[in-house]
Symmetry: C2
Subunit: 198 residues, 2 copies
């Protein structure tokens, strides 16, 4: 083995030791509240990708989509085929409907289904897609939402996506990722495209 | 309508106008190179979620996994069932094998399949999961990779995931998201769990 390979091997062994030590320290098994926020592309796909991961292991997942445009949603088709139940808030983007009372009613209806799933210990993972907006618009009550999340079944994972996650939601969460836009094709005049963006 | 509702409606109309204007300006349709990097949780699930989105619309996608641990991968099971072809680099995490020559050979084999898909205009989307490490470890040649990405079919979307994306890959990309860890359950002693983390 050359000196170069020897050094490579030593570096890798150190790295492996570090990872192994950390893994050995993390032994608790419990439901995780994961918040994926920020202004960059990838929040909803990360949420749906995680649901697919759970479903691929034979786990039960359920999805609430709190904001939905006029477009079809490719990921929903695949997951429904896998037996994943969906609740879709029916009013479309809130700036397309421009009717606050109707939006609140729709948010509350979607939340009622979310709450039922968050009390059902046969469900391993609940995705609350774009729910952050319901809190920043005050369509849902933050105390009600946080209490429901806190008292959910101990092994249930919950994923919340959307921009500008509420400070108190971040405090309650176990894992928080902030997806920061470094650049976006849209700014270069490239339109949203089927398969990539919806 | 109350004053409050009136103000809400005006705000929403302004927001809608702003979004509509931006959408009207973005009219180019072309394949997008999307890089999802950073140290936070959600990069791989975002990539796989995007593949599921494409597949849900009846598009053709292909996946190369450049780093793969000893664990099963829930998302692969679902996508293979949907007919998505996979190329999986066989050596596992590079710090688990600690054999540079074998790692390079494995990386090159996976890249050969990636390259074939990046030249096939019947494929709408290619996911190069965790490919960034192959560049930071110099297992793959950056010029070769960038040239292949640049000369791919015009309508093909490519998604590259992994930490520490190469500066030149970021320059070439159309959309770049940096997934920043705000906090991680692992740091609180919660172990990686099936369905959520793999």
């Amino acid at each position: 083995m050359s000196d170069n390979e020897q050094r490579h091997k030593q570096r890798q062994q150190k790295l492996k030791q570090k990872v192994d030590d950390k893994v050995a320290q993390a032994q608790k098994e419990q439901g995780v509240l994961l918040v994926i926020t920020g202004n960059g592309k990838g929040k909803t796909t990360a949420g749906f990708g995680n649901v697919m991961r759970a479903v691929g292991h034979g786990q039960k997942a359920a999805v609430v989509q709190f904001i939905k445009g006029q477009w079809d949603c490719g990921e929903r088709m695949v997951l429904q085929q896998q037996g994943v139940p969906f609740e879709v808030m029916a009013t479309g983007f809130t700036w397309e409907t421009q009717n606050k009372a109707a939006d609140i009613a729709a948010a509350e209806k979607a939340w009622a289904q979310a709450k039922a799933w968050l009390q059902d210990d046969s469900i391993d993972m609940v995705l609350l897609d774009e729910m952050t907006y319901m809190l920043s618009y005050h369509y849902l009550d933050i105390d009600e939402v946080l209490n429901t999340l806190s008292s959910r079944p101990a092994q249930q994972h919950v994923i919340v996506t959307g921009r500008q996650a509420h400070r108190r939601l971040i405090e309650l969460a176990d894992t928080v990722s902030d997806v920061t836009p470094v650049k976006h094709a849209f700014e270069a005049g490239i339109k949203a495209q089927k398969g990539l963006d919806y």
